[in-house]
């Protein structure tokens, strides 16, 4: 298992991965602030959500506007299976992942052979259907007022109860997600897709089954999201439908776009950046327009999405990196010219 995870990472990625893991492991020793630990934990959850979508957008060239659906399936599976059906919390977590992966696989089979807009609309529709189910099936889900009393996870008889426990647990899973995704990106198919700049026809000519690859990436992204959802439910102990709306889905798109499509490391950056900007904007808008309430930060989020897509369609981190490299490359011949002429 360990070899499978690390084997293909390559040395720069491996070093970055180890530094990140060590830094995260040490952080709670220096940070004696529950709020910051909680924020870092939420960044880990959104890292998992964003990585799946980055893979889907960057490598499969498809977009899902409903990733919060899988997040919600994971969270409510954890809540319902572990309380109403008496499954253990760990099994409930796994069940949620399988359920979300299955839903994604079915939907993907239906839609992936169509190009462009259909998956986007279908995933939006899926998100609305989930929201309706969560608010209507009150007996199972608790309805709009939410579900209380999601049990804690436990490891070897020790029940995880503090924020720091969950910080370690959730980052552990986030790091596994990162390692696994780096491996997929560097796998034979992943390399081929990247080398061909996601030209499907070229890839297919070389005998790569792009359809199956896309489907697998989509199902995997759903499983990642459900994993994040289950952990989130256990961590907070309370979930409500408002966390799994289309706005949440678009926020995940925004994180992936800021992080740079197809960039695994960027996902963490994107998640962190947007969560911080969101907090800052909420206070800024309240002081600017007295009495304002609601999710007004979506104005800024929409603007960021549009600006990045107009000027850097590969996403902020990837796009900025490329622009920088191009600039350096352009400067070199300029300097060489006087010597030559």
């Amino acid at each position: 298992m360990k070899r499978l995870l690390i084997a293909r990472l390559g040395s720069p990625n491996l070093i970055a991965f180890l530094i990140m893991a060590l830094g995260l492991a040490a952080a709670p020793v220096f940070i004696d602030n529950n709020y910051i630990i909680t924020v870092l934990t939420i960044i880990a959850l959104f890292t998992m959500l964003t990585i799946g979508l980055s893979l889907l957008m960057g490598y499969a060239g498809q977009i899902s506007l409903g990733q919060a659906t899988f997040f919600g399936i994971g969270a409510y599976s954890m809540a319902i299976f572990s309380t109403r059906l008496g499954l253990s919390p760990w099994l409930s977590l796994l069940a949620g992942m399988i359920l979300a992966g299955g839903v994604a696989y079915l939907l993907g089979m239906l839609i992936f052979r169509l190009h462009g807009h259909y998956l986007a609309m279908a995933t939006l529709g899926m998100n609305i259907i989930l929201y309706l189910i969560l608010t209507q099936q009150v007996d199972w889900t608790g309805g709009p007022s939410g579900f209380r009393g999601v049990p804690d996870l436990s490891i070897g008889g020790m029940t995880l109860s503090t924020d720091t426990h969950y910080y370690y647990l959730i980052w552990f899973f986030a790091l596994i997600t990162i390692a696994l995704s780096l491996n997929i990106v560097n796998s034979r198919v992943g390399r081929a897709m990247r080398a061909l700049h996601s030209s499907e026809i070229a890839a297919e000519t070389l005998g790569i089954d792009t359809g199956r690859f896309k489907l697998q990436v989509f199902a995997l992204s759903a499983a990642y999201s459900a994993l994040a959802g289950g952990l989130y439910a256990s961590f907070l102990g309370f979930i409500s439908p408002s966390s799994f709306t289309i706005n949440a889905s678009i926020k995940i798109v925004l994180m992936a776009v800021v992080g740079g499509l197809s960039s695994i490391w960027g996902a963490t950056f994107g998640a962190a950046a947007i969560l911080v900007i969101e907090q800052w904007l909420r206070t800024a808008i309240k002081s600017l327009v007295p009495g304002a309430s609601g999710e007004q930060e979506i104005i800024a989020f929409g603007l960021i999405l549009m600006l990045i897509m107009i000027f850097m369609p590969e996403g902020l981190v990837t796009g900025a990196g490329k622009a920088l490299r191009a600039r350096i490359a352009r400067r070199k011949p300029e300097r060489a010219q006087p010597a030559g002429g």
């Binding site: 239906l110 609309m121 104005i299 549009m306």
Partner: protein, 309 residues
Amino acid sequence: MSLQTEIIQFLLAGITVGSIYALIALGFVTIYNVTGIINFAQGEFAVYGAFIAITAFQKSRLLSGNWQVALEWPLPAAALVGVVITTLVGILLYRLAIQPARRASILSMIIITIGAAFVMRGAALLLWGTDPYRLPVFTPGPPLKIFGAILTRQSVWVIAVTAVLLVILYWFFNRTLTGKTLQACADNPKAAQLMGISPQRMALLAFGISSAVTAIAGIVIVPSTFMTYDRGLTLSLKGFVAAIVGGLSNPAGAVLGGISLGVLESFGAGYLSSGYKDAISFIVLFIVLAVRLGGFLRRRGSAGERAGL
């Protein structure tokens, strides 16, 4: 109420709501045909049309009460200003966001229009808040009776406006030079360009027409249902489903699709479950996508892709 009257009642309600979906679907089709873009901000035009008309019509408190507006214009003038400003918003959207990115991939374009929808929805929230708004009915009076079923006067307005718009659009696309130019752009952009037609000017025109039609939809529906800042997304999705049912590039199909979707929803809400009314259109979407898979596959490149828009 007898079963027969009940069925007619549901049918009438469905046709009324379906007319709105049809108008929004027409908005989708107009933009898609000329540019190959599905505009995810389409439904926001309906919200803006309604909100601007309401603000011009009655005393309003905007920006959480920090800005008082008391225009109190007569209803027709208020409606007109709602359509005109929303059309300008549509044109601005094309100019500022779509045109600069016209060579972008479908994926980027989806994200850009989603971003635009977010900006518009957020701005609506900032300006008008979370309160539901409503206009008075256009012509007050007792409802009409058709085979024992009731049809409100506003419903007559909705259906009539849809019919008139359909006739105008048909006449415009088939009988005027500009309309024919737009169609030429949709049919074969390369050839159209060679004939001296600017695809970008046509795309601008398409965005203008599309936002105007959708704004009208928002204004005619707002006397019979409350409008809130976040209705745009659901309206977008239903208009899109209607457009897909009608074949996505066919205006008449879009209208038929919209009306059948409205009728289906009305019966579904009446006989199955009103709570899941909104789910019906998406189940229809999944079924249509599954069934039409072969049909869509054969026409891979959309009009806009070929145009390089």
